[in-house]
Amino acid sequence: MDEESAVSGSRAEGSPVRPRQRSVRNDKAMDGQVIAHGARPADVRFRVMADSAPVLIWMSDMNKLRTYCNQRWLDFTGRTLEQEQGNGWAEGVHPEDRERCQALYAAAFDARQEFSMDYRLRRHDGEYRWIQDNGVPLFDLDNVFTGYIGSCVDITERKRAEADLREREIFFRTLTTLAPSMIWTAAPDGTITYANDQWFAYFGITPEENALGWPELVLHPDDQERSMVAWTHALQTGEDYEIEVRNRRYDGEYRWFLTRATALRDDEGRISAWFGVTIDIHERSQLERDVAERASVLEAVFAAAPGHISIFDESGKLARLNPAAQRVAGPEREQASMETVGQTFHLRTVEGAPFPPDELPVARALRGEIVQGVEMILRDAEQCDQYILTSSAPFYDLTGQLRGAVALAHDVTALREAERESAKWAAQLDATIDAFTDGLFIYDSAGQLTRMNDAARTILALDAAPDYYSLTPEERTARLQVRDATDQPLAPEEWGLGGLAQGERLAVPVELRITALDGCAKDLAITGGPVRNPQGVMTGAVALLRDVTDRRRLERAAMEHASQLQATFNALAEPMCVFDADGRILRQNMAELLLFGFATSLATIEERAVRIELRDVEGHRLPMERLPARKVLAGATLVGIDAVEVVARGADGHDRRFSVGGAPIRDDAGQIIGGVTVYRDVTERRSLERQVTEQVERLQTIFETIADAIFLFDAQGQIVDANPAGRRQLPNDIADFNARLQQERNVSYVLRDAHGAPMDPADWPVTRLLRGETLTGEAIVDMVAVLPDGRERWLSVSGAPIRDQVGQIIGAVGMTRDITERRRLEQQTRWQASLLERAHDAIFMWELDGPIAYWNLGAELLYGYSRDEAVGQISHQLLQTKRPVSPTAFKEALERDGEWIGEIGHTTRDGRRLVVESRHQLLTESDGRHYVLETCRDITERLELERELRRSRDELEQRVRERTRALATANRTLRRLSQRILDVQESERRRIARELHDEIGQALIGVKMMFETASTENGSRRATTAGGGQVSTSVREAIDEALLRVRELSLDLRPAMLDNLGLLPTLLWRFERFTQQTGIRVEFHHTGLDQRFSPEIETGAYRIVQEALTNAARHASVDVVTVQMMATAETLTIYIIDQGAGFDADEALAAGVSTGLSGMYERAGLLEGTLTVTSAPGEGTTIEVLLPLAPAMEIENVRDSAREATRDGRGEAVRDTARDSVQDQTDQGHVR
């Protein structure tokens, strides 16, 4: 490059002849140097060489002064050697470089060192050129320093190239750093060699990561393959690479990028590198989409708009028409411009004048104006004129340059035509309104009067009062003095016109009277109705006023006449109807209106007949020709027997019976012009007649069917008639009987009074009746009649005399009722009552929750209160009743079972406390009231005795028990014995229970069955034998009683269910029974009990619980006892807990007062278990029992053997059971 520059530098001289000239000068120069240095042959050679050298060469002496410049230098600078010699050369050096050069030169010179320096040297043409000057010190053969020699090369081009390169490098770096895009370069093989900062920043990766494999990090997985294929293709072919891919931004978002790369080639056309740019086009593509979308929407609007849309360009030429506009324009007119559009489309103003082109909306829009709603006329493709409403607006490009205008036009022809039509109608309406003779007022929807015609002015006489319109509405109203037809002033709300404002139609004219403004009274008939638009919305109202003043005056006169007639007509009491010859009803009087309740709504007599349901007396509807009114019109006069009897329905909905009279009305010529009918109401008369008939029939029926005997007597006391019941008591031949009666009355026919004394015939009922007595109520006679066969019958006789119209007695009615049976029952009841009375037991009855109603002799004797003292008292207060159960439980039991039996405490009048065995029975009287019949027997003494017995027995037993316990502790053998005793006791109880139950019970049943079967077979025969039935009944009852006892006894000894069903059901049953018997609730909690245990455990547990409950009932005075039981594999635990009185357990045991307690201890002990009693007075009692359970296998075995024992036990000998059964019964006993 240096050489090149030098060459070019020489070439710059541009002349081929130069070398020769140069050589000449070289010669001269050489001469000069020789002079300067003292010529030497070597120097000459050198100078020749130097002058021919392509470089600038200089020499200097040891004094730093230039001695020589070669021809080329001189040519370069354009100066002479003389000018250059010495320090003259420095004049050509650029002033900025000069000092530096000289300093460098001097420094190197002094040090005798080679140097090289760049500086600018002025060329002959004045241009400074960069020179690289290399100087070397020069020594002669003797190695004596002789000066410097230097050669210079023009390096301007090189310098410039270097500067360019540097500049370009900086530019590139700056560019790539500043550019918003990512720029990169790659080696020919595709390896990325450079990427700018944006690349790393944008993709959020480090250069190291990038080098390792940016595509995986950056490229969207779906785009990687595509990108790779394209890139490989570009690398292979050298074609430009361009691809749009998604790259992952630093924040993880994939965005669309455009990557372009171009190959850089060297001179041989080989690819030296790839230069690439990657741009984020995400937003741009988004924007493009938006723009496209918006454009398509606009396009759609353009296409679909119903109005005409035309687009003009800025020159005013029509650019586009939408389809609607195209239709109007027609194909050949689409080429219009703004100037021609007016003519082409015949655009005219609405007045018809040609539209001034400059004023066209589109023309104005092209001047930048926005024009709206200009109406004009257009002639369309079919040569029809259209009214169009046009608007126009200019549009601009992005730079704000006006690019054209859009014009919109709507066809408003139809609208304009409708308006014209409407105007025409309005004109016609105006004319009509003014021509109206009725006054017309038109109101708007707000109720404001908008119009009034001439007739209205006349009616109101507005001309007479010019000031009328200056008045307020209220004053106007007042001026008119609106009244009703009777001249009563009306407030506006009473006018009856209010509905008009609500859109109602005044179909019936409202009649008002006003005083017109000229002072004349006027009668007005006002009609009107709402005005609605086609949508049905009310837009106002119209009122029509008709002046009816004259007509009213005439009407009033006619009315007066008519009302006089009407008054007469109405005054008639009978319904009257007047009709014309066609049967049209003319008038009806008040009576008819009241009766049938209708008037003007019916026009003809036929309609009236239908309405009142006119029927004949049989209830058949009358044919039209047989209507009374029709008969009248046919000429008949319905009077007297000709009157027609009919049935009709009155306004009250009741059928009434009428006798209809009537007559035709004839004119002067005798022609029938109408008729009158009169209805006479005969309902009451007819119904009275009917009632009499019915009553007679009813009486006859009673007479025939009544069970009591009824006899009719004549005045002589002879029977003239009798009802069937009566006849049964009489011989067939009444006459004969009468005769006998007559005869026997004299010989005292056998009648006795209630006391059994013979009756005097004068007191006989019939005699008394015929004397005029009435035998009813208190006067009814009870007597005894002795029948011919000797039987006596009790008769109850009532009756009354029969009188004629003047009160003369003409006979009598007598009625006898056979009350023999009733008397017998009464007597029996009385007898029974006396039995009750005489009963030894105290029997008394009291109303539930009420006083004593009955108190027998027994009660008097027992309690010392007399009947009078006791009746009316509350029994439990009087007797201070103490029951073993709470009043609630008592009442519940009574209501549930109907009776309650128990031992209760009573206190006598003298304060003695009694214990009575009492039976309460709940009786319900026919009046629904509940009574309690209480039967009490004094058992005080018996109880004393029992207590005494029990005490001695308890003592005895206690002693035995103590003894047993002592023995048990001393000797386990004895204990086993005790176990055996208990076992035996249980098995004996079980055996006896079963024996009773199975053997005796079943035997009894068998007997009973056989007995029953036998008595049924022989039934009829046996029953007839005297007393046979009674015997069989009492035998049956005896068996039943025995059965019951057997069952109870068996159950009490040992409930069979304990063996049959197990512990749990038996306990549940026991608890229920316990609660029933004592009223104490048992709260039972258990777990693991739903299984069978060994018979010993079941028996032991049951007996212990039973005993504990008994104790609780006896001592604790509690309402509830808690029993808790739980069974595990090893143990059955039982707790019996009460919160009652408690006791000192040790003391009780020691004192031996409780046999139950020790019994429980014993049972628990025998089962190898323990029993703990925790109790203290006032703190309740807890009994805890722990019974060890045998392993399951053994239980099975034990149970089986136990069952067998049970089964086979019947045959075993019974030993030593007496004590046990006594024990057991007493255990049960005190609970009962």
Partner: protein, 217 residues
């Protein structure tokens, strides 16, 4: 003809019932048994319309025979003839599948009526038994009986001691607190541990926490 099996270990009863039923033309006694197993075998082979069973038969009781007959011969209707007039027996019989529960000693007409009711598939219970009584019994028994909670076994004092023990109190502290002797406190502890089936002092605390008597802090 309605076929009837009769099982009762009392010949006299069998004789009576047979006599009664045979007086009615539509009934035929097809088998008689005096123990449960024989009755079951007969029922399995004869498949009678009606089985009249004593409640307590030797070998196999009437309840079990009822269950097995109904299994072997579903169409057979079972009437229990029994001496027992108590609700638990009736209840068990009905549970076993019997339709009628007839008390021995019922009059012959009633027995015939009961047999006809049974054949018609209608429940019959001899007076004074009734569905109402059975229900009342069930209700009462159910009310009285509920699952057992050992905590209910504790006395009020034992509950106090339990809580104090669970909180880690010593006998002396408990005694002072409840104004009892330490010896009594110890007795209470022994008792309550036995009632609650607890073995160690830690069990006491654990139990008290589980019952929510104390809250662990």
């Amino acid at each position: 003809m309605i076929t009837i099996l009769l099982a009762d270990d009392h010949p006299i009863v069998r004789q009576g019932v047979r006599g009664l039923l045979e007086s009615e033309p539509e009934f035929e006694i097809v088998g008689e048994a005096d123990d449960g197993r024989t009755a079951l075998q007969l029922a399995e082979t004869l498949k009678p319309d009606l089985a009249i069973l004593d409640l307590m038969l030797p070998d196999l009781n009437g309840l079990e025979v009822t269950r097995r007959i109904l299994h072997a011969s579903p169409h057979t209707r079972v009437a229990i003839l029994s001496m027992y007039a108590d609700e638990p027996h009736v209840l068990e019989a009905l549970r076993a599948g019997a339709i009628a529960y007839i008390l021995k000693g019922t009059s012959t007409e009633t027995l015939l009526f009961a047999v006809r009711e049974t054949l018609a598939g209608r429940r019959y219970l001899s007076p004074p038994l009734s569905d109402r009584a059975i229900e009342a019994y069930l209700l009462q028994a159910g009310e009285a009986s509920r699952a057992m909670d050992r905590y209910d076994l504790l006395t009020a004092r034992e509950r106090e001691v339990l809580e104090l023990l669970a909180r880690g109190a010593s006998y002396a502290e408990i005694a002072e607190r409840l104004i009892i002797s330490p010896r009594t406190a110890e007795t209470h502890r022994t008792n309550l541990m036995r009632k609650l089936d607890l073995k160690t002092p830690a069990d006491i605390t654990l139990y008290a926490i589980q019952r929510g008597l104390i809250t662990p802090d």
